[in-house]
Amino acid sequence: MIRSLPNTRPYTIGFKIYVGLFFSFLFLPLVVTCVLAFNDSPFPALPWKGFTLTWFTGDQPGRVGIFHDTVNLSAIWVSFKVAFWVSLLSTIVGTCGAFLFEQEQFRFKQALYFLMLAPLVVPGVILGISILLFANTLGVAVENTFNLDVPLFRPGFWLVVLGQFSFIATLVTLVVSARLKKFDRTLEEAALNLGANRLEVIWHITLKFLRPAIIGAGAVAFLMSFENFNTTLFLVGSEATLPITLYLQVRDGSTPVINAISFLLIVGTSLLALINLTFSRKKE
Protein backbone atom coordinates (compact mmCIF):
# COMPACT_ATOMS: atom_id res chain seq x y z
CA MET A 1 0.00 0.00 0.00
CA ILE A 2 2.55 2.56 1.12
CA ARG A 3 6.28 2.30 1.63
CA SER A 4 6.02 1.41 5.30
CA LEU A 5 3.63 -1.50 4.67
CA PRO A 6 4.33 -4.85 3.06
CA ASN A 7 3.55 -4.72 -0.65
CA THR A 8 3.09 -7.56 -3.11
CA ARG A 9 5.51 -7.71 -6.05
CA PRO A 10 2.84 -7.27 -8.73
CA TYR A 11 1.56 -4.20 -6.91
CA THR A 12 5.01 -2.59 -6.78
CA ILE A 13 5.97 -3.53 -10.32
CA GLY A 14 2.59 -2.53 -11.74
CA PHE A 15 2.86 0.82 -10.04
CA LYS A 16 6.38 1.36 -11.38
CA ILE A 17 5.28 0.59 -14.91
CA TYR A 18 2.35 2.96 -14.64
CA VAL A 19 4.49 5.81 -13.33
CA GLY A 20 7.12 5.07 -15.98
CA LEU A 21 4.49 5.30 -18.70
CA PHE A 22 3.18 8.50 -17.19
CA PHE A 23 6.56 10.16 -17.28
CA SER A 24 7.20 8.98 -20.86
CA PHE A 25 3.86 10.47 -21.83
CA LEU A 26 4.87 13.67 -20.08
CA PHE A 27 8.25 14.05 -21.74
CA LEU A 28 7.79 12.39 -25.11
CA PRO A 29 6.55 15.45 -27.03
CA LEU A 30 9.21 17.68 -25.47
CA VAL A 31 12.02 15.26 -26.23
CA VAL A 32 10.85 14.75 -29.81
CA THR A 33 10.60 18.51 -30.33
CA CYS A 34 14.10 19.07 -29.01
CA VAL A 35 15.67 16.24 -31.01
CA LEU A 36 14.12 17.33 -34.28
CA ALA A 37 15.52 20.82 -33.81
CA PHE A 38 18.87 19.30 -34.80
CA ASN A 39 17.69 17.21 -37.76
CA ASP A 40 19.15 18.29 -41.10
CA SER A 41 15.80 18.13 -42.90
CA PRO A 42 13.50 20.90 -44.09
CA PHE A 43 10.59 19.33 -42.19
CA PRO A 44 10.38 18.63 -38.46
CA ALA A 45 9.95 14.92 -39.08
CA LEU A 46 11.87 11.69 -39.30
CA PRO A 47 13.85 10.08 -40.95
CA TRP A 48 17.02 11.41 -39.33
CA LYS A 49 19.18 13.09 -41.93
CA GLY A 50 22.12 14.03 -39.74
CA PHE A 51 22.93 16.53 -37.05
CA THR A 52 22.88 20.22 -37.86
CA LEU A 53 22.82 23.59 -36.13
CA THR A 54 21.41 25.25 -39.19
CA TRP A 55 18.01 25.84 -37.56
CA PHE A 56 19.76 27.97 -34.98
CA THR A 57 22.58 29.67 -36.88
CA GLY A 58 21.73 29.26 -40.57
CA ASP A 59 21.45 32.33 -42.77
CA GLN A 60 20.95 30.79 -46.25
CA PRO A 61 17.64 31.47 -48.02
CA GLY A 62 15.18 28.71 -47.08
CA ARG A 63 17.37 27.63 -44.19
CA VAL A 64 17.22 30.67 -41.93
CA GLY A 65 18.00 29.76 -38.31
CA ILE A 66 16.34 31.42 -35.34
CA PHE A 67 19.32 33.71 -34.72
CA HIS A 68 18.72 35.34 -38.11
CA ASP A 69 14.91 35.09 -38.12
CA THR A 70 13.87 38.71 -37.65
CA VAL A 71 10.15 37.98 -37.21
CA ASN A 72 10.66 35.50 -34.38
CA LEU A 73 13.51 37.48 -32.84
CA SER A 74 11.39 40.59 -32.62
CA ALA A 75 8.50 38.51 -31.20
CA ILE A 76 10.86 37.21 -28.50
CA TRP A 77 11.93 40.77 -27.75
CA VAL A 78 8.28 41.88 -27.48
CA SER A 79 7.53 38.96 -25.15
CA PHE A 80 10.49 39.94 -22.99
CA LYS A 81 9.27 43.49 -22.72
CA VAL A 82 5.71 42.41 -21.93
CA ALA A 83 6.90 39.89 -19.35
CA PHE A 84 9.15 42.49 -17.73
CA TRP A 85 6.33 44.97 -17.26
CA VAL A 86 3.81 42.33 -16.23
CA SER A 87 6.09 40.85 -13.59
CA LEU A 88 7.06 44.29 -12.30
CA LEU A 89 3.46 45.51 -12.07
CA SER A 90 2.01 42.30 -10.68
CA THR A 91 4.78 41.96 -8.08
CA ILE A 92 4.13 45.45 -6.77
CA VAL A 93 0.34 45.21 -6.80
CA GLY A 94 0.34 41.58 -5.62
CA THR A 95 2.53 42.47 -2.65
CA CYS A 96 0.19 45.34 -1.80
CA GLY A 97 -2.68 42.86 -2.07
CA ALA A 98 -0.97 40.40 0.27
CA PHE A 99 -0.43 43.13 2.87
CA LEU A 100 -3.97 44.36 2.43
CA PHE A 101 -5.63 40.98 2.90
CA GLU A 102 -3.29 39.64 5.58
CA GLN A 103 -2.67 42.68 7.76
CA GLU A 104 -5.45 45.19 7.35
CA GLN A 105 -9.01 45.09 8.59
CA PHE A 106 -11.66 46.98 6.68
CA ARG A 107 -15.26 46.82 5.58
CA PHE A 108 -16.03 44.62 2.56
CA LYS A 109 -12.73 42.82 2.98
CA GLN A 110 -14.37 39.47 2.24
CA ALA A 111 -16.03 40.82 -0.89
CA LEU A 112 -12.80 42.33 -2.14
CA TYR A 113 -10.92 39.12 -1.39
CA PHE A 114 -13.45 37.16 -3.37
CA LEU A 115 -13.07 39.60 -6.25
CA MET A 116 -9.30 39.16 -6.08
CA LEU A 117 -9.75 35.38 -6.48
CA ALA A 118 -12.11 35.78 -9.43
CA PRO A 119 -9.43 35.85 -12.14
CA LEU A 120 -8.52 32.30 -11.08
CA VAL A 121 -11.88 30.98 -12.21
CA VAL A 122 -12.46 33.25 -15.20
CA PRO A 123 -11.19 31.69 -18.43
CA GLY A 124 -8.34 33.70 -19.94
CA VAL A 125 -10.22 34.15 -23.19
CA ILE A 126 -12.98 35.97 -21.34
CA LEU A 127 -10.54 38.22 -19.51
CA GLY A 128 -9.09 39.04 -22.90
CA ILE A 129 -12.36 39.91 -24.60
CA SER A 130 -13.81 41.82 -21.68
CA ILE A 131 -10.71 43.99 -21.37
CA LEU A 132 -10.73 44.49 -25.13
CA LEU A 133 -14.37 45.56 -25.03
CA PHE A 134 -13.89 47.86 -22.08
CA ALA A 135 -10.80 49.49 -23.56
CA ASN A 136 -12.69 50.00 -26.78
CA THR A 137 -15.68 51.51 -24.95
CA LEU A 138 -13.34 53.88 -23.11
CA GLY A 139 -11.51 54.72 -26.29
CA VAL A 140 -14.73 55.57 -28.12
CA ALA A 141 -15.96 57.60 -25.15
CA VAL A 142 -12.73 59.58 -24.92
CA GLU A 143 -12.65 60.15 -28.65
CA ASN A 144 -16.26 61.37 -28.74
CA THR A 145 -15.91 63.64 -25.73
CA PHE A 146 -12.42 65.05 -26.05
CA ASN A 147 -11.75 64.25 -29.68
CA LEU A 148 -8.62 62.44 -28.53
CA ASP A 149 -7.29 59.18 -29.91
CA VAL A 150 -5.58 57.37 -27.04
CA PRO A 151 -3.43 54.49 -28.34
CA LEU A 152 -3.64 52.72 -24.95
CA PHE A 153 -7.26 51.86 -25.63
CA ARG A 154 -6.53 50.03 -28.87
CA PRO A 155 -5.13 46.51 -29.01
CA GLY A 156 -1.40 46.75 -28.57
CA PHE A 157 1.54 46.43 -26.25
CA TRP A 158 0.11 48.06 -23.14
CA LEU A 159 -3.26 46.39 -23.41
CA VAL A 160 -1.48 43.02 -23.55
CA VAL A 161 0.48 43.99 -20.43
CA LEU A 162 -2.68 45.02 -18.60
CA GLY A 163 -4.59 41.92 -19.71
CA GLN A 164 -1.90 39.54 -18.46
CA PHE A 165 -1.36 41.57 -15.33
CA SER A 166 -5.08 41.30 -14.47
CA PHE A 167 -4.81 37.60 -13.57
CA ILE A 168 -1.10 37.19 -12.83
CA ALA A 169 -1.43 39.71 -9.98
CA THR A 170 -3.84 37.28 -8.29
CA LEU A 171 -1.20 34.59 -8.36
CA VAL A 172 1.42 36.88 -6.89
CA THR A 173 -1.01 37.95 -4.18
CA LEU A 174 -1.62 34.33 -3.21
CA VAL A 175 2.07 33.37 -3.19
CA VAL A 176 3.13 36.40 -1.15
CA SER A 177 0.13 36.00 1.20
CA ALA A 178 1.16 32.42 1.91
CA ARG A 179 4.58 33.63 3.03
CA LEU A 180 3.13 36.56 4.95
CA LYS A 181 0.91 34.16 6.90
CA LYS A 182 4.05 32.59 8.33
CA PHE A 183 5.38 35.96 9.45
CA ASP A 184 5.62 36.40 13.20
CA ARG A 185 3.92 39.73 13.81
CA THR A 186 5.73 40.28 17.10
CA LEU A 187 8.76 41.10 14.93
CA GLU A 188 6.82 44.12 13.69
CA GLU A 189 5.88 45.04 17.23
CA ALA A 190 9.49 44.68 18.30
CA ALA A 191 10.58 47.02 15.51
CA LEU A 192 7.88 49.53 16.45
CA ASN A 193 9.00 49.27 20.04
CA LEU A 194 12.59 50.00 18.98
CA GLY A 195 11.46 53.26 17.45
CA ALA A 196 10.62 52.43 13.81
CA ASN A 197 7.52 53.87 12.20
CA ARG A 198 5.08 51.75 10.22
CA LEU A 199 6.76 52.33 6.84
CA GLU A 200 10.20 51.61 8.28
CA VAL A 201 8.86 48.40 9.81
CA ILE A 202 7.48 47.27 6.46
CA TRP A 203 10.65 48.21 4.62
CA HIS A 204 13.25 46.83 7.05
CA ILE A 205 11.44 43.85 8.55
CA THR A 206 8.42 42.58 6.64
CA LEU A 207 9.68 43.08 3.09
CA LYS A 208 13.04 41.53 4.00
CA PHE A 209 11.16 38.51 5.27
CA LEU A 210 9.01 38.36 2.12
CA ARG A 211 11.88 38.84 -0.31
CA PRO A 212 12.32 35.19 -1.38
CA ALA A 213 8.58 34.84 -1.97
CA ILE A 214 8.42 38.10 -3.91
CA ILE A 215 11.36 37.15 -6.11
CA GLY A 216 9.89 33.69 -6.69
CA ALA A 217 6.49 35.11 -7.52
CA GLY A 218 8.14 37.60 -9.87
CA ALA A 219 9.89 34.78 -11.72
CA VAL A 220 6.66 32.80 -12.02
CA ALA A 221 4.87 35.94 -13.23
CA PHE A 222 7.56 36.44 -15.84
CA LEU A 223 7.19 32.89 -17.15
CA MET A 224 3.40 32.98 -17.15
CA SER A 225 3.41 36.25 -19.04
CA PHE A 226 6.02 35.01 -21.50
CA GLU A 227 3.90 31.99 -22.34
CA ASN A 228 0.44 33.48 -22.19
CA PHE A 229 -1.70 32.87 -25.23
CA ASN A 230 -5.41 32.97 -24.39
CA THR A 231 -5.66 36.47 -22.98
CA THR A 232 -3.07 37.91 -25.31
CA LEU A 233 -4.80 36.59 -28.43
CA PHE A 234 -7.51 39.23 -28.23
CA LEU A 235 -5.42 42.16 -27.08
CA VAL A 236 -2.44 41.88 -29.37
CA GLY A 237 -1.84 44.65 -31.88
CA SER A 238 0.89 44.95 -34.47
CA GLU A 239 3.57 43.84 -32.02
CA ALA A 240 2.89 40.11 -31.68
CA THR A 241 4.30 38.21 -28.72
CA LEU A 242 6.17 34.97 -29.24
CA PRO A 243 3.29 32.56 -28.49
CA ILE A 244 1.07 34.42 -30.98
CA THR A 245 3.74 34.42 -33.70
CA LEU A 246 4.47 30.74 -33.09
CA TYR A 247 0.78 29.89 -33.16
CA LEU A 248 0.35 31.47 -36.58
CA GLN A 249 3.38 29.56 -37.89
CA VAL A 250 2.27 26.25 -36.42
CA ARG A 251 -1.22 26.67 -37.79
CA ASP A 252 0.02 27.37 -41.30
CA GLY A 253 2.63 24.64 -41.46
CA SER A 254 5.90 24.23 -39.68
CA THR A 255 9.63 24.36 -40.12
CA PRO A 256 12.37 23.10 -37.78
CA VAL A 257 12.93 26.71 -36.74
CA ILE A 258 9.92 26.29 -34.49
CA ASN A 259 11.65 23.29 -32.95
CA ALA A 260 14.75 25.38 -32.43
CA ILE A 261 12.72 28.08 -30.68
CA SER A 262 10.96 25.42 -28.60
CA PHE A 263 14.31 23.95 -27.67
CA LEU A 264 15.55 27.34 -26.48
CA LEU A 265 12.31 27.91 -24.56
CA ILE A 266 12.49 24.52 -22.87
CA VAL A 267 16.13 25.00 -21.89
CA GLY A 268 15.58 28.61 -20.84
CA THR A 269 12.51 28.00 -18.72
CA SER A 270 14.01 24.90 -17.12
CA LEU A 271 17.07 26.90 -16.15
CA LEU A 272 14.95 29.71 -14.75
CA ALA A 273 12.83 27.20 -12.85
CA LEU A 274 15.92 25.51 -11.44
CA ILE A 275 17.48 28.80 -10.36
CA ASN A 276 14.22 29.81 -8.76
CA LEU A 277 13.96 26.48 -6.98
CA THR A 278 17.51 26.41 -5.60
CA PHE A 279 17.13 30.03 -4.55
CA SER A 280 13.95 29.34 -2.60
CA ARG A 281 15.45 26.13 -1.13
CA LYS A 282 18.44 28.02 0.15
CA LYS A 283 16.26 30.66 1.76
CA GLU A 284 14.01 28.15 3.50
Partner: protein
Amino acid sequence: MRSRRSLTFLLFITPVVLWLFLLIVLPHVDLLLMSFHTEDDSGAMVWSLVNYLNFFQEPVYWRTFMRTAIYAILVTMITFAVSLPVAFYITKVVSPRFSGFLSLLLLMPFWVSELVRVYGWMILLRESGVLNHFLMVSGLLQRPVEMLYNDVTMVMGLVYTSMLFMVVPLISVLESLDDSLIEAAYDLGGGIFSIVTRIIIPHAMPGIMSGGIVVFMLTLGNYLTPNLIGGKNSLWFTEQIYNQFIASFNWNQGAAFGFLLLVLSSSIIWLGLKLTRQKLSQVVQ
Protein backbone atom coordinates in the same frame (compact mmCIF):
# COMPACT_ATOMS: atom_id res chain seq x y z
CA MET B 1 -0.24 56.78 14.66
CA ARG B 2 -3.76 56.98 13.27
CA SER B 3 -2.77 58.95 10.20
CA ARG B 4 0.31 56.78 9.61
CA ARG B 5 -1.75 53.63 9.70
CA SER B 6 -4.29 54.94 7.31
CA LEU B 7 -1.46 56.12 5.04
CA THR B 8 -0.10 52.59 4.66
CA PHE B 9 -3.63 51.30 4.33
CA LEU B 10 -4.22 53.68 1.43
CA LEU B 11 -0.90 52.65 -0.06
CA PHE B 12 -2.05 49.03 -0.08
CA ILE B 13 -5.66 49.40 -1.05
CA THR B 14 -5.34 51.93 -3.89
CA PRO B 15 -3.48 49.73 -6.41
CA VAL B 16 -5.57 46.70 -5.48
CA VAL B 17 -8.87 48.51 -5.95
CA LEU B 18 -7.68 50.09 -9.21
CA TRP B 19 -6.62 46.68 -10.49
CA LEU B 20 -9.80 44.88 -9.52
CA PHE B 21 -12.22 47.55 -10.68
CA LEU B 22 -10.55 48.73 -13.86
CA LEU B 23 -9.42 45.34 -15.10
CA ILE B 24 -11.92 42.89 -13.63
CA VAL B 25 -15.23 44.44 -12.56
CA LEU B 26 -15.80 47.16 -15.17
CA PRO B 27 -14.70 45.05 -18.16
CA HIS B 28 -17.08 42.28 -17.13
CA VAL B 29 -19.92 44.76 -16.64
CA ASP B 30 -19.14 46.11 -20.08
CA LEU B 31 -19.13 42.56 -21.45
CA LEU B 32 -22.58 42.01 -20.01
CA LEU B 33 -23.90 45.30 -21.38
CA MET B 34 -22.42 44.70 -24.82
CA SER B 35 -24.04 41.30 -25.01
CA PHE B 36 -27.47 42.92 -24.69
CA HIS B 37 -26.85 45.36 -27.51
CA THR B 38 -26.93 45.04 -31.24
CA GLU B 39 -26.67 47.27 -34.27
CA ASP B 40 -30.00 48.21 -35.80
CA ASP B 41 -30.47 48.82 -39.49
CA SER B 42 -29.10 52.33 -39.32
CA GLY B 43 -25.96 51.09 -37.57
CA ALA B 44 -26.82 52.54 -34.13
CA MET B 45 -26.48 50.48 -30.95
CA VAL B 46 -29.81 49.41 -29.41
CA TRP B 47 -30.81 47.17 -26.52
CA SER B 48 -31.67 43.70 -27.75
CA LEU B 49 -31.81 40.05 -26.84
CA VAL B 50 -30.90 39.02 -30.35
CA ASN B 51 -27.43 37.79 -29.43
CA TYR B 52 -28.85 35.30 -26.97
CA LEU B 53 -31.68 34.35 -29.32
CA ASN B 54 -29.11 33.59 -31.99
CA PHE B 55 -27.35 31.29 -29.59
CA PHE B 56 -30.45 29.23 -28.92
CA GLN B 57 -31.77 29.26 -32.48
CA GLU B 58 -28.56 28.31 -34.20
CA PRO B 59 -27.88 24.63 -33.36
CA VAL B 60 -24.18 24.88 -34.12
CA TYR B 61 -23.77 27.41 -31.31
CA TRP B 62 -25.47 25.63 -28.49
CA ARG B 63 -24.24 22.24 -29.63
CA THR B 64 -20.68 23.50 -29.51
CA PHE B 65 -21.46 24.96 -26.11
CA MET B 66 -22.80 21.67 -24.72
CA ARG B 67 -20.00 19.70 -26.34
CA THR B 68 -17.41 22.00 -24.78
CA ALA B 69 -19.02 21.68 -21.35
CA ILE B 70 -19.30 17.89 -21.49
CA TYR B 71 -15.79 17.41 -22.83
CA ALA B 72 -14.40 19.75 -20.21
CA ILE B 73 -16.02 17.69 -17.44
CA LEU B 74 -14.79 14.49 -19.07
CA VAL B 75 -11.25 15.85 -19.37
CA THR B 76 -11.32 16.90 -15.70
CA MET B 77 -12.35 13.40 -14.60
CA ILE B 78 -9.79 11.64 -16.80
CA THR B 79 -7.10 13.99 -15.55
CA PHE B 80 -8.00 13.17 -11.97
CA ALA B 81 -8.00 9.41 -12.64
CA VAL B 82 -4.60 9.59 -14.33
CA SER B 83 -3.04 11.89 -11.76
CA LEU B 84 -4.13 10.33 -8.47
CA PRO B 85 -1.95 7.21 -8.74
CA VAL B 86 1.05 9.30 -9.75
CA ALA B 87 0.60 11.71 -6.86
CA PHE B 88 0.10 8.77 -4.50
CA TYR B 89 3.20 7.02 -5.82
CA ILE B 90 5.37 10.10 -5.42
CA THR B 91 4.19 10.97 -1.92
CA LYS B 92 3.60 7.58 -0.35
CA VAL B 93 5.15 4.69 -2.27
CA VAL B 94 8.50 5.67 -3.72
CA SER B 95 11.37 6.04 -1.27
CA PRO B 96 11.66 9.60 0.03
CA ARG B 97 15.02 10.03 -1.70
CA PHE B 98 13.37 9.92 -5.10
CA SER B 99 10.14 11.66 -4.27
CA GLY B 100 11.72 15.12 -4.32
CA PHE B 101 13.40 14.38 -7.63
CA LEU B 102 10.24 12.97 -9.18
CA SER B 103 8.10 15.93 -8.21
CA LEU B 104 10.75 18.22 -9.65
CA LEU B 105 10.73 16.22 -12.87
CA LEU B 106 6.97 16.47 -12.92
CA LEU B 107 7.11 20.27 -12.71
CA MET B 108 9.54 20.72 -15.60
CA PRO B 109 7.02 20.49 -18.49
CA PHE B 110 4.74 22.80 -16.53
CA TRP B 111 7.17 25.64 -17.12
CA VAL B 112 7.20 25.10 -20.86
CA SER B 113 4.72 26.99 -22.99
CA GLU B 114 1.50 25.18 -23.84
CA LEU B 115 2.12 25.96 -27.48
CA VAL B 116 5.41 24.08 -27.43
CA ARG B 117 3.75 21.08 -25.83
CA VAL B 118 0.92 20.99 -28.33
CA TYR B 119 3.42 21.40 -31.13
CA GLY B 120 5.31 18.40 -29.77
CA TRP B 121 2.19 16.27 -30.05
CA MET B 122 1.59 17.55 -33.56
CA ILE B 123 4.96 16.45 -34.89
CA LEU B 124 4.55 13.15 -33.05
CA LEU B 125 1.10 12.22 -34.26
CA ARG B 126 0.52 13.77 -37.66
CA GLU B 127 0.50 11.82 -40.90
CA SER B 128 4.17 12.53 -41.55
CA GLY B 129 4.88 12.40 -37.83
CA VAL B 130 7.41 10.52 -35.74
CA LEU B 131 5.00 7.84 -34.51
CA ASN B 132 3.85 6.99 -38.03
CA HIS B 133 7.47 6.84 -39.11
CA PHE B 134 8.27 4.23 -36.44
CA LEU B 135 5.14 2.21 -37.15
CA MET B 136 5.99 2.11 -40.85
CA VAL B 137 9.64 1.24 -40.30
CA SER B 138 8.66 -1.59 -37.96
CA GLY B 139 6.20 -2.83 -40.54
CA LEU B 140 3.10 -2.49 -38.39
CA LEU B 141 1.57 -0.05 -40.85
CA GLN B 142 1.60 -0.06 -44.64
CA ARG B 143 0.55 3.54 -45.15
CA PRO B 144 0.62 6.42 -42.65
CA VAL B 145 -2.50 7.17 -40.60
CA GLU B 146 -3.59 10.68 -39.61
CA MET B 147 -3.81 10.58 -35.83
CA LEU B 148 -4.49 14.30 -35.36
CA TYR B 149 -7.77 16.15 -35.83
CA ASN B 150 -10.12 13.84 -33.96
CA ASP B 151 -11.84 13.97 -30.59
CA VAL B 152 -9.75 11.29 -28.91
CA THR B 153 -6.50 13.05 -29.69
CA MET B 154 -8.01 16.36 -28.65
CA VAL B 155 -9.11 14.96 -25.28
CA MET B 156 -5.69 13.43 -24.80
CA GLY B 157 -4.08 16.75 -25.62
CA LEU B 158 -6.32 18.57 -23.16
CA VAL B 159 -5.55 16.03 -20.44
CA TYR B 160 -1.86 16.41 -21.17
CA THR B 161 -2.01 20.18 -21.04
CA SER B 162 -3.80 20.40 -17.73
CA MET B 163 -2.47 17.31 -15.95
CA LEU B 164 0.11 19.19 -13.92
CA PHE B 165 -2.49 21.47 -12.43
CA MET B 166 -4.11 18.36 -10.99
CA VAL B 167 -0.97 16.52 -9.88
CA VAL B 168 0.56 19.44 -7.97
CA PRO B 169 -2.38 20.09 -5.59
CA LEU B 170 -2.84 16.35 -5.16
CA ILE B 171 0.78 15.94 -4.14
CA SER B 172 0.59 18.74 -1.64
CA VAL B 173 -2.63 17.45 -0.11
CA LEU B 174 -1.37 13.86 0.05
CA GLU B 175 1.85 15.03 1.69
CA SER B 176 -0.26 16.29 4.55
CA LEU B 177 -1.91 12.89 4.99
CA ASP B 178 -0.34 11.14 7.95
CA ASP B 179 1.03 7.73 6.90
CA SER B 180 -0.12 6.26 10.18
CA LEU B 181 -3.76 6.77 9.14
CA ILE B 182 -3.20 4.43 6.21
CA GLU B 183 -1.27 2.04 8.45
CA ALA B 184 -4.09 2.09 10.97
CA ALA B 185 -6.69 1.41 8.29
CA TYR B 186 -4.55 -1.45 6.96
CA ASP B 187 -4.07 -2.78 10.47
CA LEU B 188 -7.84 -2.70 11.01
CA GLY B 189 -8.29 -4.90 7.95
CA GLY B 190 -8.92 -2.32 5.20
CA GLY B 191 -8.15 -3.29 1.62
CA ILE B 192 -6.86 -1.02 -1.14
CA PHE B 193 -10.34 -0.08 -2.30
CA SER B 194 -11.65 0.85 1.13
CA ILE B 195 -8.46 2.72 2.04
CA VAL B 196 -8.64 4.77 -1.14
CA THR B 197 -12.34 5.58 -0.87
CA ARG B 198 -12.61 6.01 2.90
CA ILE B 199 -9.26 7.54 3.85
CA ILE B 200 -7.34 8.95 0.92
CA ILE B 201 -10.07 10.57 -1.17
CA PRO B 202 -11.88 12.25 1.76
CA HIS B 203 -8.57 13.65 2.99
CA ALA B 204 -7.56 14.78 -0.49
CA MET B 205 -10.87 16.49 -1.23
CA PRO B 206 -9.58 20.08 -1.00
CA GLY B 207 -6.73 19.21 -3.36
CA ILE B 208 -9.05 17.35 -5.71
CA MET B 209 -11.39 20.32 -5.82
CA SER B 210 -8.71 22.91 -6.40
CA GLY B 211 -7.09 20.76 -9.07
CA GLY B 212 -10.50 20.06 -10.58
CA ILE B 213 -11.46 23.72 -10.71
CA VAL B 214 -8.25 24.80 -12.36
CA VAL B 215 -8.28 21.93 -14.85
CA PHE B 216 -11.92 22.49 -15.71
CA MET B 217 -11.48 26.22 -16.10
CA LEU B 218 -8.35 25.87 -18.22
CA THR B 219 -9.95 23.21 -20.41
CA LEU B 220 -13.13 25.16 -20.93
CA GLY B 221 -11.18 28.26 -21.83
CA ASN B 222 -8.59 26.44 -23.90
CA TYR B 223 -8.16 27.60 -27.44
CA LEU B 224 -4.84 26.24 -28.66
CA THR B 225 -5.34 22.52 -28.20
CA PRO B 226 -8.79 22.13 -29.80
CA ASN B 227 -7.80 24.56 -32.51
CA LEU B 228 -4.52 22.89 -33.42
CA ILE B 229 -5.18 19.18 -32.90
CA GLY B 230 -8.97 18.97 -32.72
CA GLY B 231 -10.82 18.06 -35.90
CA LYS B 232 -12.96 20.18 -38.13
CA ASN B 233 -15.98 18.77 -36.32
CA SER B 234 -14.52 19.23 -32.88
CA LEU B 235 -15.27 22.93 -32.69
CA TRP B 236 -14.61 24.40 -29.23
CA PHE B 237 -16.69 27.23 -27.83
CA THR B 238 -13.71 29.56 -27.46
CA GLU B 239 -13.26 29.21 -31.21
CA GLN B 240 -16.82 30.46 -31.68
CA ILE B 241 -15.95 33.47 -29.55
CA TYR B 242 -12.79 34.05 -31.54
CA ASN B 243 -14.72 33.78 -34.80
CA GLN B 244 -17.25 36.35 -33.68
CA PHE B 245 -14.56 38.77 -32.58
CA ILE B 246 -11.91 38.40 -35.20
CA ALA B 247 -13.59 36.86 -38.24
CA SER B 248 -17.17 38.20 -38.17
CA PHE B 249 -16.25 41.30 -36.19
CA ASN B 250 -19.58 40.94 -34.38
CA TRP B 251 -18.42 41.97 -30.91
CA ASN B 252 -21.89 41.99 -29.42
CA GLN B 253 -22.46 38.39 -30.42
CA GLY B 254 -18.99 37.52 -29.13
CA ALA B 255 -19.73 39.27 -25.84
CA ALA B 256 -22.88 37.19 -25.42
CA PHE B 257 -20.91 34.01 -26.06
CA GLY B 258 -18.21 35.12 -23.64
CA PHE B 259 -20.78 35.82 -21.01
CA LEU B 260 -22.42 32.43 -21.53
CA LEU B 261 -19.05 30.72 -21.15
CA LEU B 262 -18.42 32.69 -17.96
CA VAL B 263 -21.82 31.65 -16.58
CA LEU B 264 -21.13 28.04 -17.51
CA SER B 265 -17.71 27.93 -15.89
CA SER B 266 -18.79 29.72 -12.71
CA SER B 267 -21.94 27.65 -12.27
CA ILE B 268 -20.15 24.32 -12.70
CA ILE B 269 -17.41 25.40 -10.30
CA TRP B 270 -20.07 26.61 -7.87
CA LEU B 271 -21.91 23.30 -8.18
CA GLY B 272 -18.71 21.37 -7.59
CA LEU B 273 -17.95 23.39 -4.47
CA LYS B 274 -21.51 22.93 -3.19
CA LEU B 275 -21.49 19.18 -3.77
CA THR B 276 -18.22 18.73 -1.89
CA ARG B 277 -19.06 21.40 0.72
CA GLN B 278 -15.95 23.44 0.11
CA LYS B 279 -15.31 27.16 -0.06
CA LEU B 280 -13.43 28.86 -2.85
CA SER B 281 -11.14 30.62 -0.42
CA GLN B 282 -10.18 27.29 1.19
CA VAL B 283 -9.64 25.59 -2.13
CA VAL B 284 -7.16 28.15 -3.42
CA GLN B 285 -4.94 27.92 -0.35
